[in-house]
């Protein structure tokens, strides 16, 4: 257990020391403020609500669709292919830590980064609403929003396990980055042509948090979709681990 903790600390520190992680977090924090301010300024022209009570959810939509996946691709590229090509993976594995724990530490660190980003987003968007928002259009349902954010976190973590699996095939960070962006775009467009694809694709669960905002969604479909996300996460975690285990570094 201590080695796992040390592993997580190691990965988190590595992430923190990278400048792009910090830049990403700053952008993630500033973007909602910028959007709210520009909506506010453009109010007379387009008449859009600057920061309605649903602002945190509208921002969540934007983040689970673009920001967090992009951040994930960058972070995963650094965690796996980059470490292999820079030969720093060896240093990690020379420590008294099993491969499983090293692998798990990387995924847990990713999960923590996603959680941190979502918490940051929730705080910033709530502050935006408090500062320049209107109270028109209902109040903030904190419990509902909390559930939606947790669901958003789960789907993002499952998505990260999918891309960690694909990262095992790459030895160069830029190659993986390009591949993952293209794969994500294709997986997002595919359901427009093929019926039923979205039922089997983790990428179509980026807006899964929506299901948790309603009272009319049946418990059965909540259960099956939750099972799908969790089992997808376990499946790609295990497959990724199998590849990682046999990897020559």
């Amino acid at each position: 257990m201590i080695s796992l903790q040390a592993g997580i600390r190691n990965e988190l520190l590595l992430m923190l020391y990278r400048r792009k992680t910090m830049i990403f977090f700053v952008v993630a924090a500033v973007l909602p403020i910028l959007l709210a301010m520009s909506f506010h300024a453009l109010q007379p022209v387009i008449g859009l609500v600057a920061a309605s009570p649903s602002f945190p959810i509208q921002m969540l939509e934007l983040y689970t669709l673009f920001m967090i996946p992009l951040f994930l691709f960058l972070a995963i590229a650094d965690l796996f292919p980059q470490e292999v090509s820079a030969r720093t993976m060896k240093l990690t594995l020379l420590r008294p830590i099993t491969r499983f724990r090293a692998f798990a530490a990387k995924l847990l660190a990713l999960g923590m980064a996603i959680a941190a980003m979502l918490v940051l987003l929730a705080i910033v968007s709530l502050l935006c609403h408090a500062a320049i928002g209107t109270s028109d259009g209902g109040s903030i349902d904190l419990i509902g929003y909390g559930k939606a954010y947790i669901a958003g976190f789960l789907s993002m973590w499952a998505l990260s396990s999918l891309f960690v699996f694909f990262a095992q095939f790459f030895r160069s960070a830029s190659g993986f980055l390009i591949f993952s962006i293209i794969l994500y775009a294709v997986a997002k467009v595919f359901p427009f042509f093929v019926k039923g694809f979205s039922s089997f694709s983790l990428t179509s669960y980026t807006d899964w948090y929506l299901v948790w905002l309603s009272h009319s969604v049946s418990a059965g479909s909540l259960l099956t979709s939750t099972l799908f996300v969790i089992s997808g996460m376990i499946l790609f975690f295990s497959l990724g681990y199998l590849m990682f285990e046999r990897k020559e570094v």
Binding site: Q43, P44, I46, G47, L48, V49, A50, S52, P53, S54, I57, Q58, E61, L62, F100, T134, D136, G137, G138, D141, G144, Y145, P191, F192, F193, V194, K195, G196, S198, S199, F200, S204, Y205, D207, W208, L210, V211, L213, S214, S216, V217, S218, S221, T224, S225, L227, F228, S231, G232, I234, L235, F237, S238, L239, Y241, L242
Partner: protein, 313 residues
């Protein structure tokens, strides 16, 4: 070593199986969304139907406009008849409509003049195209359905269905502010501004020309948003839809409601609600009324783009 393989292998097998079954359940999904789609298709395939429709537009609970219509439609013989009444803030307006293969006839409530518009050529062309493009349009419809499914995404779980004892179904959908996709929400003010801006320009027209053009007559009355033009904080507050589907999978009744909130130029907040209620009956047994114009005051109306055809006939 062996234990590790067993663990990972087991995890892969179990999670893979769970993923497959839950994916299949999601795909097969006997959800309200699928039920509604199939009912909509069955209703569209009807040959004739009688429609009763009501629409009410409210501002902060005060009725602004009220529309009531009765229509009888028969597709195979391209006939339609009906009556539409619109009660606006200023006045009431009603129109009787008859439409057949030869053209359209309408009369406004206040006068006894029947306006007649002859249809030529266009309809026959349409008929020929229908038969040749039938196969292609079926394919297009299927593709369009896939695209719509993809756009709807996880929102399709919002449609719930309640089976009744007599075999009919109640299908309902309720979307609140936070659940409406941001893109739709962003388009709402634009659509709103477009609607109110368009009709501001029409104020100068006199009613004599309006009578000859039923679209304008209603457009002016039903969507007169001038007094309640929202300029700020426009958003869709809620959308709801309720449909009753009978045993034969036909939609018997459909109620829809959408409400906007926003502020006008003076900073007063408004809640605009549009409620519609549509009843369908006499499935495949509707015979539209016809009108005998003999001995009645008739005025011919020419379509602007149809002028060049007149000399040929």
């Amino acid at each position: 070593m062996k234990k590790k393989w067993l663990m990972t292998g087991g995890a892969i097998a179990v999670s893979g199986a769970v993923m497959l079954t839950t994916g299949l359940t999601a795909m097969a999904g006997t959800s309200g969304y699928e039920d509604y789609k199939s009912a909509l298709k069955a209703t569209q395939a009807l040959k004739s139907v009688s429609i009763q429709a009501d629409a009410v537009l409210q501002d902060n609970g005060n009725v602004l406009n009220n529309a009531h219509g009765q229509l009888k439609v028969s597709l195979p013989d391209r006939k339609m008849s009906g009556n539409v009444q619109v009660t606006g803030k200023g006045a009431q307006q009603s129109v009787d409509l008859f439409s057949g293969t030869t053209g359209e006839v309408w009369k406004t409530g206040g006068s006894d003049t029947y306006f007649v518009k002859q249809d030529k050529q266009e309809k026959q062309d349409g008929e020929q195209q229908d038969s040749t493009e039938n196969g292609q349009s079926a394919l297009m419809n299927k593709q369009a359905e896939t695209v719509i499914d993809a756009l709807v995404g996880n929102l399709k779980n919002y449609v719930s269905v309640n089976g009744q004892t007599d075999g009919s179904k109640q299908i309902s959908l309720q979307l609140d502010n936070a659940q409406i996709p941001a893109v739709v929400q962003a388009l709402a003010p634009l659509a709103f501004k477009h609607l109110s801006g368009e009709h501001d320009g029409q104020q100068g027209q006199n009613s004599a020309t309006d009578q000859a053009n039923p679209d304008k007559l209603f457009g002016k009355n039903l969507f007169n948003l001038k007094d309640i033009a929202l300029t700020q904080d426009i958003q869709i507050q809620s959308v709801s839809l309720q449909a009753t589907v009978n045993v034969h999978n036909q939609i018997e009744r459909q109620q829809a409601s959408i409400s906007f909130t926003g502020k006008d130029a003076g900073g007063v907040s408004h809640t605009l609600t549009l409620n519609t209620d549509v009843h369908l009956s006499a499935f495949d047994q509707t015979i539209p009324d016809t009108i005998d114009l003999a001995g009645k005051k008739v005025q011919q109306v020419q379509e602007h783009q149809g002028h060049h055809n007149d000399s040929n006939d």
